[in-house]
Amino acid sequence: MGHHHKENFFSKYIFSMDHKMIAKQFLLTGMFMGVVAMVLSALFRMQLANPGSKNPILEFLLGSNYVTEAGAMTPDAYLALVTIHGTIMVFFVLTGGLSGTFANLLIPLQLGARDMASGFMNMLSYWFFFLSSLIMIASFFVTGGPASAGWTIYPPLSAMELAIDGSGLGMDLWLISMTLFIVSSLLGGLNYIVTILNLRTKGMSMTRMPLTMWAIFVTAILGVLSFPVLLSAALLLVFDRTMGTSFYLSDIMLAENGIMQVLAHDGGSPVLFQHLFWFLGHPEVYIVLLPALGITSEIIATNSRKPIFGYRAMIGSIFAIGFLSFIVWGHHMFITGMNPFLGSVFVFTTLLIAIPSAIKVFNYIATLWRGNLQFTPAMLFSIALVSTFITGGLTGLILGDSALDINVHDTYFVVAHFHIVMGLSAIFGMLAGVYHWYPRMYGRLMNLKLGYVHFWGTFICAYGTFFPMHFLGMAGLPRRYYDNTAYPMFESLISINEVVSFFAITGAIIQVIFFFNFFYSMYRGTKSPQNPWKSNTLEWTAPVEHIHGNWPGEIPTVHRWAYDYSKPGKKEDFVPQNVPLSKGEKEH
């Protein structure tokens, strides 16, 4: 079957409605944004390692507005870079890039569908994403610079240009960009949900779906439920900024040309914004994390040549995490002056999340146990993900405990925590996914040795960068500090900062190997066999060459779950999902 209409360059590569092409578009855009965000972090790490020293690269990249007369980064520039770094990493790389790539690529292929439920919406989703990326980057070049109030854009700081330069035109662009981004992710998310519910091939019952599908399914639900809340928060902020309403503002006085002005806003609450923001913000960290965990589940099972341990428990944990993630947002607000009793409720729900998380970790480790582990780069990144998920998740027990949060809230301890548990885990999951499904996207394998070099370099630098930050936080160093030499007591932290910056910058350089491998292998990589990892899932039954509709003939019918690896009594150590059960064979 397959639809065979005439294709030209535009309909094939640019305004494509084919899910595989859209997945690649998301991937390339996400990778590009990743480079931007990484370069930003390298730039501000230079500032932190050598406070106040000349930064010619910054001046070259962004222009003289970002540096002092002596050529050093300005405090405003620092905050701008940190803000856009965070925004891009969280939303553009690990939400748009990660979900957009793997949901689009895998949903139809793993479930046995010809395409997404709506190819058109899918295309729109990408183009909204593209446009919002452009606007976010363009905001670097407007007067006042980009949004600089942190990726959380708390008002009043984000509401008034008088408070910080970045809250002028830059903040407008941030809000416009994020609005487009939200539209993109809603279009995508609805599509994912509908496709998963309706377009599964014959025999693909929900409980036979690979865990990637479960993860993406719950992720999409989280997104559809929480992004609209961010949109409303942003809209109210727009009203406060432009129409003089007072949703978030009250009793404010700022200097204008040296004269104190009491603003007309009255009766609003800045804390309201925080509630709305974190109602998205916390589910968002799982929107980032769950697809990565789903990818990992698939890769660890395949390369352990074993069924994923506790398939049903894994699904249960995904749902438990998804559900709980909606009722923990207050843990970001313990010290806003919220009612201590309300704080207690959030402590309770927050620490509960550790239970499904722990179950997932144990299941991963149990899957490795007595396996026959094939260390592809994808597998290595997946194992690294489990490690960072453990290391970073554990410090969540500290931050989720309100009494302890008093002293480390908003310090580098938090920066360490979320980079390890969310940043590294999700990036590792994304890289694992790229290595694993690259043959499915480009028909070739990525170079293995370069993959190994990339993995080991990245893994070492990742821990080297983020682990020491715990110590900065325990020394009481606040985050979003341009320079800590204003406090003599922090002078001695320079020895930690140097280690961090060394690993951060080395780690950034090592990514060149990955990009080289990625583009090089597209043209010169070894041609991939149809099922390079001897995997059970349906995507590997489709031909290597991409065709519209995915399978030339009928869509395969599914007869078993995705994890019949090394099943006793079978000749091979894998049994694809479309192989019928033999006589007397139990499902699992």
Binding site: M260, Y311, I365, G371, N372, F375, L448, M489
Partner: protein, 403 residues
């Protein structure tokens, strides 16, 4: 173009060329070995060993950092409730360190033990209910304990009755510095509001005197403007002036309304308040701090006291604690001595005077604008006698008289 620049370019080019040569070498070598980018027993073994090492390297890295940087982390708490918090911290930290030290080596150890070999077959097992119930139950029990313990401490620290018997101090935040207001004889802080701001009344304390001065000031402005309006010919300028008059009248109205909403008793209690730029606290005396901000959200972070609270415009927040160590006592802490020595060494290395001493500080810990990193106030903890003397001095030479 100077030589240095050319040299940098040449080095840059060399690095890039080397990089591509290395890549070519790798490619050639894999061609020679006819490696089709498949994992082999050999690559599994190498990676397995590396993973095994990683598990222990991570543990070693952890201990190295503790040995190296442990003295930099916050020292013994300098407040009463800080002791409770630190006990909870040590318990939780101890627990997670143990889990970290077990799970990571186990993860990487398994990776090594079960590394792939051609003739090996994995063990088919899909689940084990008993095991799963066990490892669901254990974290559940441990976490329940942590939750109960944590909430007990939280309840103690934030109990609303804590403020009883404390001296009241207001900490006032604005871009980019802090001001403190002591409650004076009556130990009652008068109300404050941005509408009452005047250069002589930076915290906008509401008192009858302030009201009188400012309201007269406004009246005067309005009268002057009205006179100006009479003689002004230019229509554009007339408009500006009459707008200003309208604004000031509106301001006057709101000002009055706010004034009338504050009880007389409260207005009186502001009269003896003392506004200062440094925080002095008496040791072993409970302090009830009230926080206010005039522009954006700030956060008053006093790490040595394990105290922090946001300062939110339009909202009054509070944190109660009792300092237990004077600045002098804290300066004798061995870790502090080491840290100060190190800081001075570094400062001298930069050609500055290396004579800093330890002081408690209050830091801003919520992004608040470009000088966020430099928004601080010194805190000095002294004996009750020294505190009394200091406060008396402040009352006499206080920043703002005529409250």
């Amino acid at each position: 173009m100077d030589l240095n620049f050319i040299l940098k370019i040449v080095i840059g080019l060399l690095v890039i060329i080397t990089f591509f040569q290395v890549i070519r070498l790798i490619e050639l070598s894999s061609r020679l070995a006819e490696n089709k980018d498949e994992v082999t027993d050999r690559s599994n073994k190498i990676n397995g060993i590396l993973l095994f090492i990683s598990g222990f390297a991570l543990v070693a890295f952890f201990f190295w950092q503790r040995a190296q940087w442990g003295y930099l982390t916050l020292q013994d708490p300098a407040s009463e409730h800080g002791v409770l918090i630190d006990q909870l911290w040590d318990t939780t930290m101890g627990l997670i360190i143990v889990v970290f030290l077990i799970l990571n080596p186990v993860l990487f150890g398994f990776a090594f033990l079960y590394r792939g070999r051609k003739n090996r077959k994995a063990y088919f097992i899909s689940h084990n209910n008993k095991l799963e119930i066990f490892w669901t139950a254990v974290p559940t029990v441990v976490l329940s304990g942590l939750i109960v313990y944590g909430l007990m401490v939280w309840g103690d620290v934030t109990n609303v009755n804590n403020a009883k018997g404390g001296i009241f101090i207001e900490v006032y935040a604005k871009q980019f510095n802090w001001t403190a207001r002591y409650a004076g004889e009556d130990n009652k802080l008068g109300d404050g509001h941005v509408r009452f701001y005047a250069p002589t009344n930076p915290l906008g304390v509401v008192t009858d005197n302030m009201y009188k001065i400012q309201s007269e000031d406004l009246d005067e402005k309005i009268i002057i403007d009205k006179e100006k309006l009479l003689v002004e010919k230019n229509i554009g300028k007339q408009k500006t002036i009459s707008d200003r008059i309208d604004r000031n009248i509106a301001k006057q109205k709101m000002f009055k309304a706010y004034y009338n909403s504050i009880s007389e008793e409260e207005r009186k209690s502001g009269e003896d308040d003392i506004v200062v730029a440094e925080l002095y606290l008496p040791v072993n005396q409970k302090v009830a701090m009230k926080f206010r901000s005039q522009d954006v959200i700030h956060s008053a972070y006093m790490p040595h006291f394990r105290a922090q609270m946001n300062c939110v415009p339009g909202l009054s927040t509070q944190f109660v604690f009792t300092p237990t160590k004077t600045t002098e006592e804290m300066r004798k802490n061995p870790d502090i001595i080491k840290q100060v020595k190190e800081a001075n060494r570094i400062l001298e290395g930069k050609g500055q005077q290396g004579n800093v001493e330890f002081d408690y500080s209050l830091l801003c810990n919520k992004i608040c604008g470009n000088a966020h990193y430099n928004m601080k106030m010194k805190i000095v903890v002294v004996s009750q006698e020294e505190y009394d003397i200091w406060l008396k001095e402040q009352a006499e030479t206080r920043m703002i008289k005529n409250m």
